[in-house]
C-alpha cells in the first residue's frame, strides 16, 4: 500500500521531469530518489516537532463575585449609582448581578475592545442600553472580525505534489527502498518508449 502510493508520486515526478527535461533521463533517478528520501525524512522530523509543540488553554478571571463586591461596584460609581438607584435601594441582587456581568468588564476592567464598542453609550452614560445590547453587539462584532491573512497562497499549487509525498507514512522506509521504487518506475517509464 505504502509502495503503491509512493509509486504514483514517482510516476508524477517522472512525467514532470520528462516534460521539462526530455533527453537527460539519467538525471531522473538521482534527483527523484534523493528528493523523496530526504523529503520524507524532513517531513517526519517536522511532524515530530509540531506534534510535540504544546499549546494550552488559558485561565480566565473568576466571574463569580460576592454580592458585596457587586453592590460596591454600583455604589462607588456616582453615574452607575444614579442609573441603578432603584435596584440598589430595593437590593435587587438578581438585576444588579445581570447588569454587573455586562458592565464590570467595560467600566471596572476597562476592556479596550468593549469600551470602544460601546463608546457612544459610555459617553451618554446609557448603561441600561449597554446591558440590553451587550450579547448581540459583542457577538456581531466578533463575527465581523476577519481571520488574519496568512502567508502568500502564490505557491500553494506547486506544493500539492510535495504534500502528497510528505503525507505518506513511509518514515520507516530506508533509502534503498525509496531508491528501488524510484528505479522501478523509471525503468517502466523507459520501457514504455519514453
Amino acid at each position: 500500500m505504502k509502495k503503491m502510493t509512493l509509486e504514483k508520486i514517482v510516476k508524477k515526478g517522472i512525467s514532470f521531469l520528462s516534460k521539462i527535461f526530455p533527453v537527460k533521463s539519467y538525471l531522473y533517478f538521482p534527483l527523484l530518489s534523493t528528493a523523496i528520501f530526504w523529503g520524507i525524512r524532513r517531513a517526519t522530523e517536522w511532524k515530530k516537532k509540531i506534534l510535540s509543540w504544546q499549546v494550552y488553554l488559558d485561565p480566565e478571571l473568576i466571574e463569580e463575585k460576592p454580592a458585596e463586591f457587586v453592590l460596591n461596584f454600583f455604589k462607588k460609581s456616582s453615574s452607575l449609582s444614579q442609573v441603578y438607584e432603584a435596584e440598589i435601594m430595593s437590593n435587587d441582587k438578581e438585576a444588579l448581578r445581570e447588569a454587573f456581568n455586562r458592565l464590570y468588564p467595560i467600566i471596572g476592567l476597562e476592556d479596550p475592545f468593549l469600551s470602544a464598542l460601546f463608546y457612544e453609550e459610555l459617553e451618554s452614560k446609557d448603561f441600561r442600553n449597554i446591558v440590553k445590547e451587550f450579547d448581540e453587539e459583542v457577538s456581531r462584532a466578533k463575527r465581523d472580525i476577519e481571520a488574519l491573512e496568512g502567508k502568500s497562497r502564490l505557491l500553494e499549487g506547486l506544493k500539492s505534489v510535495a504534500e502528497e509525498a510528505a503525507s505518506l507514512s513511509v518514515d520507516l522506509m530506508s533509502n534503498e527502498e525509496v531508491q528501488e521504487v524510484v528505479a522501478n518506475e523509471i525503468k517502466k517509464w523507459t520501457k514504455e518508449g519514453n
Binding site: 521531469l17 521539462i20 527535461f21 537527460k24 538525471l27 534527483l31 528528493a35 530526504w38 523529503g39 524532513r42 517531513a43 517536522w46 511532524k47 509540531i50 506534534l51 509543540w53 504544546q54 499549546v55 494550552y56 488553554l57 488559558d58 485561565p59 480566565e60 478571571l61 473568576i62 466571574e63 463569580e64 460576592p66 454580592a67 458585596e68 463586591f69 460596591n72 462607588k76 460609581s77 456616582s78 453615574s79 467600566i107 471596572g108 476592567l109 476597562e110 476592556d111 479596550p112 475592545f113 468593549l114 459610555l122 457577538s139 466578533k142 472580525i145 476577519e146 481571520a147 488574519l148 496568512g150 505557491l155 506547486l158 506544493k159 510535495a162 504534500e163 509525498a165 510528505a166 503525507s167
Partner: protein, 325 residues
C-alpha cells in the same frame, strides 16, 4: 629546376595538407563549441530542476504545516488576548480554526481536532467545540501526548459547562486538578473548578454555602502550598476569601498574586480591583486603630505600585474615573 619544381609541388601539397588539417581542426573546434553550447543550454534546465526540487524538498513539511499554523495562530491569539487586544485575538483564533479544520480534513488526528476545539472554545462556539474534543478522543492520543489528552478533557468539560451540563464538567475539573502534573493544565482546571464551586455556593444559603466555600478554599490553599510561586493560585485564594468576607486575608493573597505575576492583563486588573474592594470594605469594618495600621501598610503598597491614589490603580482611565467619582 625539376627538383625545385618537384619540391615546390611537395610544398604545395604539404601546404594543402596543412590547410586541410587546419580546416579540420577548425571544424572540430566548431563541433566542440557546438556541443559545449548545447550543454550550456541544458544547464539552465538542470538548475531549474534542482531549484524546483529543492523547493519541493523544503516545502515537504507542508503536509503538517496546517497543524503548525493552527498552533502558531492559536498561540498568537493567546498572546493578543493576554494583552487585552481582543480584535487581534479573535482574528488569530479564527485563522487557527481555519488551519485546524484543514488539518482535520486532510490528515485527521487527535491533535488536529484538539486544536479545532480549542479555537472554537475561544470563539465561544460551544457545540462545535464539544464535537471536536469528542472527535479528538475517538482518534486517541499516543504516548507522549498526555498533555494533549488532558487539555482535550478540560476543553470538553468547558464546552459541557457552557452547554449547562455543569455537574459532569465539575467532576472533570476536579479529576484533572487532582491528577495532572502539568502546571498549565492545573491552572486552567483550578480556575474552572473554583468558578464552578463559587457559582454553586452563590445559589445556596447558610451552612451549605459555607461548606462549598470552605471546600473551594481548601483546594486553593492546597494548590498554593504545592506551588507557592504561582501568582494565579494566590489570586484564586483571594477570590474565595472575598466570598468568605475575610478581606484582610483576601487583600494579602491579592498582593502576593500581584507581586508574583498573573497570566493575563484582564486577571491582573481584576486582582487590582479586588485589592481596592478589600481596602474599601476594611475601611467600613475595622476599628480606628486597626484601620490606621492597615492603612499605613496599604499606602506603602500603593506607593510601590505608583497608583494615583488608594482607590485608583495606574491603568484606570483618568478622565472617566475623575468624572465618575
Amino acid at each position: 629546376m625539376r627538383l625545385k619544381s618537384g619540391r615546390r609541388k611537395e610544398t604545395n601539397e604539404e601546404m594543402k595538407k596543412e590547410v586541410n588539417e587546419e580546416r579540420e581542426r577548425e571544424m572540430n573546434k566548431n563541433l566542440i563549441s557546438r556541443e559545449t553550447i548545447a550543454s550550456f543550454r541544458i544547464i539552465p534546465k538542470i538548475s531549474f530542476i534542482i531549484l524546483l526540487l529543492l523547493f519541493w524538498l523544503f516545502s515537504l513539511p507542508a503536509c503538517v504545516s496546517h497543524l503548525k499554523d493552527a498552533k502558531f495562530f492559536y498561540s498568537q491569539g493567546q498572546r493578543f488576548s493576554s494583552l487585552y487586544q481582543t480584535e487581534k485575538a479573535v482574528a488569530s483564533y479564527k485563522r487557527a480554526l481555519i488551519e485546524a479544520e484543514l488539518e482535520a480534513e486532510k490528515h485527521p488526528s487527535a491533535q488536529a481536532f484538539m486544536l479545532k476545539g480549542m479555537a472554537e472554545l475561544n470563539l465561544e462556539l460551544w457545540k462545535e467545540a464539544e464535537g471536536s474534543f469528542l472527535n479528538a478522543f475517538s482518534y486517541g492520543f499516543e504516548k507522549g501526548e498526555e498533555w494533549a489528552r488532558e487539555i482535550s478533557l478540560l476543553g470538553l468539560a468547558s464546552s459541557l459547562d457552557e452547554l449547562k451540563l455543569e455537574d459532569p464538567a465539575l467532576k472533570i475539573y476536579a479529576s484533572v486538578l487532582d491528577k495532572s502534573k502539568l502546571r498549565q493544565v492545573a491552572v486552567f482546571a483550578a480556575q474552572k473548578y473554583t468558578d464552578a464551586m463559587l457559582k454553586r455556593a452563590l445559589q445556596k444559603e447558610g451552612k451549605e454555602k459555607q461548606k462549598l466555600l470552605a471546600t473551594a478554599l481548601k483546594t486553593a490553599e492546597k494548590l498554593t502550598t504545592k506551588d507557592l510561586s504561582c501568582g494565579f493560585y494566590h489570586y484564586l485564594q483571594s477570590q474565595v476569601l472575598s466570598h468568605l468576607e475575610d478581606y484582610k486575608k483576601s487583600f494579602e493573597e491579592a498582593v502576593m498574586a500581584r507581586e508574583l505575576g498573573l497570566p493575563k492583563q484582564e486577571i491582573f486588573r481584576d486582582n487590582d480591583l479586588q485589592i481596592v474592594f478589600c481596602y474599601q470594605s476594611l475601611k467600613e469594618k475595622l476599628q480606628e486603630e486597626e484601620w490606621e495600621e492597615f492603612r499605613s501598610r496599604y499606602m506603602a503598597w500603593v506607593k510601590r505600585w505608583n497608583w494615583r491614589d488608594a482607590e485608583t490603580p495606574s491603568w484606570k482611565s483618568e478622565v472617566r474615573n475623575a468624572s465618575d467619582n
